[in-house]
């Protein structure tokens, strides 16, 4: 699979979801869990299967108004691709 496009609509893959470990929010999937921090968590929270990658980049660029959107786009697509390979995210 290729990287997500600007028009891709990322979402959790079947059977992957948020969970709690103590007070921490974690992502649960068949083989285990990951604890995301900062931007990773924000990106995944925006992945509702409706928003496009371009829209997610827009929301994040608005939040960190000093950051370069091209850099954000690069980070977001690389992050989603890595989760897609683990079969945690689909787009």
């Amino acid at each position: 699979m290729a990287r997500p496009l600007g028009s891709s609509q990322p979402r959790f893959a079947p059977g992957c979801r948020w969970g709690k470990q103590g007070d921490d929010q974690v992502v649960l999937f068949p083989e285990g869990m990951i604890r995301l921090q900062g931007t990773g968590q924000s990106v995944l929270e925006l992945c509702d299967g409706e928003r496009t990658v371009e829209e997610i980049v827009g929301v994040l660029a608005g939040r960190f108004n000093s950051a370069d959107p091209a850099k954000i786009r690069e980070d977001v697509t690389a992050f989603l691709e890595a989760l897609q390979q683990k079969r945690i995210v689909d787009y």
Partner: protein, 362 residues
């Protein structure tokens, strides 16, 4: 400080309509009358969640043999556990699956014995294959994670490419290619299950090519079987470090096979809180940490990665549960594994195989 366990393996029954020749269940299985009742399991799940456990693996035997499976899944979901049903699929209709998914099942792991019907049923000792194929298509229509589990061994490894293509068509997100491990019934059938070195080398090559080809579509997990590896596996992620297993009668074990080790006492959830069993019971403390380790493990750099290997395998192959796992190339008793490999290499063809099938407990 002892870290929390991360996962609970609940063997909710030992009953199973299949008779797989590599079944990891103990030779002494629990009967239906000994099984923990619904309420007992539900209380245990709550205790597990409070203890920090995230994943619940419902297994057996065949977990579908429990008519209260839906209540168990619902109870697990209510306390926040991520639930996984490990099944042969026998006893699962679309209606029952729908009910279980609706109450919160997250993941289903369906086992296949082969891509070809005849050999699959030969290994399972039952006519199960056609049902599994039909069921896979049904499962894929539900919004849960779907993993196919394929146990590989000497009798099916030569068809690995065909099996991967077959599984691809079932469209799971994942496939787990698991080499048979020699505990329980599998140890009894080891000579006919153990692959040759050549089969193993081919297997690794085929898996690597398939991983590349299917990257992002179907994840393929496969590990080198420990009889052919240089170092042992970190069995269960280390004794009493990550996992707890509860057998049908409620006894809590550090792993599937620990019941074979003589002189152990496994406490029961009917008599003790799960937390106490994890932190204080003698069974979980027996091989936790490094104090029990013999040479060469105690001075080996790998001891914090593999924890000296598997205690049950050490006992089964050397008669001493505190020995270095003989699958380790540094182990004093490594020759028993070398001999087993040689013996396997000298085995004849499939037509000469006489299996010891796993029976179904009353």
């Amino acid at each position: 400080m002892i870290p929390n366990p991360l996962a609970l393996i609940a063997e909710i029954t030992h009953r199973c309509p299949l008779h797989c020749v590599y079944c990891s269940n103990p030779l002494q299985m629990a009967g239906a009358k000994e099984e923990l009742a619904t309420g007992g399991w539900l209380r245990v799940f709550q205790e597990a969640a409070r203890l920090g456990i995230l994943h619940l693996h419902l297994t057996g035997g065949e977990p579908l043999a429990r008519l209260d499976l839906k209540e168990l899944v619902a109870g697990a979901h209510a306390c926040g556990l991520y639930s996984n049903l490990i099944t042969s699929g026998i006893g699962l209709s679309e209606t029952r699956l729908k009910e279980i998914v609706e109450v919160g099942l997250d993941h289903i792991q369906l086992s296949f014995q082969d891509a070809r019907e005849g050999p699959a049923n030969w290994i399972a000792g039952a006519k199960a294959h056609a049902h599994k194929v039909a069921l896979a298509a049904t499962i894929r229509r539900f919004p849960i994670a779907f993993t196919v589990n394929l146990v590989v061994h000497r009798q099916n490894l030569d068809c690995l490419e065909e099996m991967i293509t077959f599984i691809e068509q079932l469209q799971p997100e994942r496939v787990e290619i698991a080499h048979a491990q020699y505990y329980g019934w599998a140890l009894k059938n080891r000579d006919s299950l153990m692959p040759t070195r050549e089969q193993l080398d081919n297997c690794l090559r085929i898996v690597e090519a398939a991983q590349q080809r299917l990257s992002g579509t179907m994840r393929i997990d496969c590990v080198v079987p420990d009889y052919y590896a240089r170092y042992p596996k970190a069995c269960m992620g280390g004794w009493g470090r990550r996992l707890m297993l509860i057998d049908p009668a409620g006894r809590v074990l550090p792993c599937h096979a620990a019941g074979v080790i003589p002189g152990m006492q496994f406490d029961n959830v009917l008599e003790h809180p799960l937390e106490w069993i994890w932190t204080d019971s003698s069974a979980f403390q027996r091989f936790r940490g490094e104090d029990w380790m013999p040479d060469p493990c105690r001075s080996c750099d790998r001891r914090s990665e593999d924890f000296g290997g598997c205690r049950c395998q050490a006992f089964l192959l050397t008669g001493d549960a505190s020995a270095t796992d003989p699958t380790c190339s540094l182990a004093p008793m490594h020759n028993v594994v070398e001999n087993a490999r040689l013996q396997a290499a000298g085995q004849g063809s499939a037509s000469e195989v006489v299996w010891l099938y796993r029976p179904n407990p009353e």
